[in-house]
């Protein structure tokens, strides 16, 4: 599904990713944890195709294709989805029209006609139910004035609409209340399948109680410095990151 090999990336002359390796197979859920500023969101942005980041080395294969050759739109259409740590507000563009453009973009890529109005609305209803997205939010401008939790639900709603092959969730749990965390996690779990993979970025073990990962990785200073099973998250929760820093001599 995804094979990252010695990926190096920088922004504004500062190198952030310093030779990162990660392989995700179909159906797997990987969690990435790591201290603030270690490069987790940078990795997510680089994978999603944000052009401000300079790729300085390495390769990324996605579904057999060279991901780095594709622009952001093409990556999304190829089945990559990023749930943003900070979802963007777009005043004046309604959530529903935004999603119709997204769905039709994907359909165009698949050689399909634009979706019919009714089919689209049915789909919206079904997917909104999955994360219990308030109906009123659909007609409001994209994320404008949404609460922190509403924005995160909206991200997962969009993911459900687009049915990606690989979904990267960047701190989707932050800002969610206890019930919302459960609802959103159940929405994600409902989408787990042998073909679909997830890369879940989080600071808290709590989320991983709901979305149980197959692998947990620790990202530190632009590299994956440790990988393990779900018990690694528990260990981190208990001990913090210092012991790893000491072990790797950073």
């Amino acid at each position: 599904m995804l094979k990252i090999n010695e990926l190096k990336a920088s922004v504004e002359e500062a190198s952030i990713l310093k030779g990162l390796n990660l392989t995700i197979n179909p159906g797997e859920v990987h969690a990435i944890m790591g201290p603030n500023g270690s490069g987790k969101s940078t990795l997510a942005s680089v994978l999603a195709g944000r052009e401000e980041y300079e790729i300085e080395g390495g390769s990324v294969a996605f579904d057999g294709e060279d991901l780095l050759e594709l622009d952001a739109t093409e990556r999304a259409r190829a089945g990559l989805f990023l749930a943003f740590q900070y979802p963007v507000e777009i005043p004046g563009v309604s959530n529903i029209n935004f999603m119709r453009a997204a769905v039709n973009g994907k359909r165009e890529h698949e050689g399909l006609e634009p979706i019919k109005g009714k089919d689209f609305l049915d789909m919206v209803k079904e997917k909104a139910k999955l994360v219990e997205l308030d109906g009123r939010l659909r007609n409001r401008s994209v994320n404008e004035g949404f609460s922190g939790g509403e924005k995160k639900r909206n991200e997962i709603f969009q993911m459900a609409m687009l049915e990606p092959k690989l979904a990267i969730l960047d701190e989707t749990d932050s800002g969610l209340d206890i019930d919302a965390l459960r609802i959103v996690s159940e929405g994600v779990n409902a989408m787990r399948s042998p073909e679909r993979s997830f890369l879940v970025i989080t600071h808290y073990q709590r989320l991983l109680d709901y979305i149980v990962p197959d692998f947990v990785h620790v990202l530190m200073d632009g590299r994956i410095v440790r990988s393990g099973g779900k018990e690694l998250a528990l260990e981190l929760e208990e001990k913090g990151y210092d012991w790893i820093k000491e072990e790797i001599g950073a």
């Binding site: 622009d71 739109t73 999304a76 259409r77 777009i90 309604s94 119709r100 453009a101 997204a102 687009l162």
Partner: protein, 447 residues
Amino acid sequence: MTDSAKPQLMDRPKTEAKHAASETSGAAFLAALDGTRSAATSAHDEALDRLPVPHRRVERWKYTPVAAWWKDVLSTEVHTVQAAGCAANPVPGLDAYRLVFVNGIFDALASDLPVHSGVVCMPLSQKGDAAVQPVDAFSPETTDWFAGVNGKYGQEGLYLRVAKGVTLDRPILVHHHTTGSGVFNALRHDIALEAHAQVTLVHWSTAASSADGSVNILTRAAVADGARLHIDKVQDEEGQVRHIAFEDIRQSSDSHAEVHTVTVRGQWVRNDLAFRINGSGAHAELNGAFLPGEGEFVDNHTTVDHRVAHCTSSENYKGILYGKSTGVFNGKVFVRPDAQQTNAYQQNANILASDKASINAKPELEIYADDVKCSHGCTVGQFDSDALFYARSRGVGLEAAKAMLVHAFIGDVLKGIKVAEVRLEVEHRLAEKHGWEVWSDYPNDDA
């Protein structure tokens, strides 16, 4: 004119010096005009003599190059839509009365004048110069050289009188089309609404892609107590056309006047709007959207003159500048000493969609009353790169994502267009010009 309405320093040109080279160009231009039209009136000669031909050191013309105006002026034989090969009605599905002018001449066959009690509507040439509203010290004709040219040579246009309490049942479409080479077209619209009368006008200008020439349109409107005037104004001129337009709107108590200007296409466009609010309780609204493309120039100069107490005005201009285009926005708001409890709002936001585009934007508020609410904002920016990336990360193409942001940006201006068919056609033409296939899929208010 009452005493307090006497011109004050604030809205009078200081000392506008003449500039020798410009005067020579202007004089040659006028001589050429004299050679092509037979019955120019001389009533405005004196004003024209006094006014400087615009040049860069006249404040209102600082960012507006006029050199392109000094081209040959020829006469043209094409005066009907049939001869021009253009549609009488440029707006599909629009149910409106219609006055069509081709190269400044009324095309009776293509027109459909209202027959409505309390409404006098006819081409100005049939009414005669004596019937039009008198010019005063604030009139564009006495303050701006190009308007003076219109005063002297503009003999055709819309003559409209709406009697007290009468509401015209359909909008009036005033369609002007330019075709041919070296043309100069002047139109003068003279509008007066009596108390509580209501009318909606659609001013639509087109030009053939082979057209080369200039268009000078002056609209004067008196809006009496409680009357409502709504103008949707669309400029969609292909070819090499220079278009200058003046709107001189005088409002009495409790009247309501709106002008919505969308510049879809135009090589060189200058809009000069002035609202003089002379009666309390009146509301003025002026909105505009301009989206010049490669090589185009669009200039919006506006004046809102609050002369009495308890009035409101709202202004919203949005510009998106593509390619190597240039824009100008100048928004004057005067609040005179007597105009207490004025509420005046002005907003001008611009997006430079290319690094070769430029805009000169300047709000000018002169407030001489103390108990007023005036707010203004002026911004120049680029497309929001976070929003673009966000949309693209959902599989929306770059151009479609930009079109979406454009629509969101100018959506509030387009919403103000009163006639739905006009709004739709404006959207279509913008989409066509900029190649936004998906545009019509994203109406702001459908859901």
